[in-house]
Symmetry: C2
């Protein structure tokens, strides 16, 4: 690690960023909490595939990269603890030291906000695009991690926050017809998502969720994951899908359908979970108060297979990758 | 994870490779051993920077990528436990499923050989080169990890195995003047390094090493790391640097200096460590028998600063990055 970072000339800044370990060693050291198990995840972000430096600042990119991993840890009901960062840095373009300072500042801000420390990493030059790979470790009470499987017929299907905002923000950034004022919250949503770490911990410690996943690829995809992993059918109401006023405003100004963005848009980083009906009382009483976010009941788990969505009196099958324009 | 891997169409093969977790979940789950702390490292390998698909097979590349991380864990005296793999896969070139099967087979073989299981990962397409990033977690007795700092004046400076072989192998692969038979062992060394996990555990559990680092960037660089981290001077003998007969044969056929390859070549993945003179007896008695590798005493730690190397009656200062052709 040390040598490679040193070559890039910002080791001194990084040293201050590594409170937990001697950066001088071959690996970071972590002392696990007794009675916990760990969740481990990595997310690789590729310039030109996952992000575009024209529509996001380096600080936001750092925060967003960490948010993607925090969201995975949140979906397991775990507390984020530490992360390592690998960078492949384009040789040909000049990304100045200020770029990397801002990138790391964004990572550290979002990490710290949700309890995770930067513990190490690796850096290489690359003949290709900028690539950021984040590995994250979280802790959860032994045997209590939330899974994608585990829902039962009759469970409520719920999500946190609102959906489609990230896609609305991205669309707004690329289309001058959209008023920046109306789109402001959606754009913020796209650039700086808030991972639902508190919500995940709430769903775990209050024993609410029978299954859980983070909504990184659009609601349609995640519903299908949960239904398949439990071997059950999921029915939701189109009207129940939460859409923010900013998302609706962007959609209205482009005559687009906000519901499509919620179903297929991705990068919302909300949580989708199922819960036994008896847990509704605790959700109603404590969820918003303790997590700072909202939740919405979208529908019910049933026997059978597949995901269905109802708009008015019509039912449609909602496929995983099957983008359908103006589904209702 | 699941979705992205699925897009690439080899999820079914990968499922068999993930015995520890449901690949279906957002993160892998790991139960830490009581009384241990963890070491965490990542190594990013970039095509065209760290490897060339013309000189290494996909199986060997997988094994070598894992070996680099295993070597970091070994240098901390820790036992490797699990790893996650992020891939950025070139869009434009066709790397067929067989390529990735072989890559993962190599990773799994080398991981399994040294006690680490593949626990998860992420995969993305990329407009650039193939990039492999491996995160690895190891375990070591609480408070007992080997560090780069900690040597004392009078300590012996030692290394495992032999040095310069990886560079000799790479040179031989690129130069037709070298007999493949003479170079065979050096080429194997370059393509399929054996990380010194057993040696690291021996140095830790027998309380031999006062400091340790893996030799991934050449002996000159690693000596300087250890000297700097302890704030001491390191003196070694050029004649004591171990060079294999295959390395010497490649050097002879090209009229090159094998010592230069050992000092500046890199990718040897041996361990460099210091040990109090009282530990020599245990090293002599048990090291080869218990670790399956050899060790060599290169010199001594002294008060002062800097690294010096003696050839005949001449002393030279050995700088970190200062490649010097035919140093003696």
């Amino acid at each position: 690690l040390k040598r490679k970072v040193s070559e890039l000339g910002f080791i001194k800044n990084l040293r201050a960023a590594f409170p937990r370990q001697g950066l001088g060693d071959d690996a970071a050291i972590f002392k696990p909490a007794p009675g916990c198990e760990q969740v481990l995840t990595c997310d690789v972000l590729v310039e030109g595939v996952h992000f575009d430096l024209k529509t996001i600042s380096p600080w936001e990119l750092g925060a967003k990269a960490v948010a993607a991993s925090l969201s995975d840890v949140a979906a397991m009901g775990a507390q984020p603890r530490l992360y390592l960062v690998s960078l492949a840095i384009p040789k040909k373009r000049t990304l100045n030291p200020g770029f990397f300072q801002a990138l790391y500042a964004g990572m550290r801000a979002w990490g710290t906000a949700f309890g995770a420390e930067l513990a190490g990493g690796d850096t290489s030059s690359s003949p290709g695009p900028l690539i950021i790979d984040i590995f994250m470790l979280g802790e959860v009470e032994q045997g209590r991690a939330l899974k994608r499987s585990g829902s039962r017929p009759g469970d409520l299907i719920c999500c946190t926050g609102s959906l489609g905002g990230s896609k609305a923000g991205l669309v707004a950034l690329k289309d001058r017809r959209v008023s920046r004022e109306a789109a402001a919250l959606a754009i913020k949503r796209h650039r700086l998502p808030v991972p639902r770490v508190l919500a995940g911990r709430f769903l775990r410690t209050k024993r609410i969720a029978s299954s859980c996943i983070d909504i990184s690829d659009g609601l349609a995809s995640e519903l299908n994951h949960l239904a398949e992993e439990s071997g059950l059918g999921f029915d939701i109401e189109a009207e129940a899908v939460p859409l923010s006023s900013s998302t609706l405003a962007v959609a209205a100004s482009l005559k687009a359908r906000a519901l499509d963005w919620a179903l297929y848009g991705g990068e919302d980083y909300e949580l989708l979970f199922t819960a036994g009906p008896s847990r509704l009382k605790v959700l109603e009483r404590d969820f918003s108060r303790l997590t700072g976010s909202e939740y919405h009941v979208l529908g019910r788990v049933r026997k059978g297979r597949g995901v269905r969505i109802r708009g008015g009196q019509r039912w449609k099958v909602l496929k995983r990758g099957g983008y359908e324009h103006a589904i209702f």
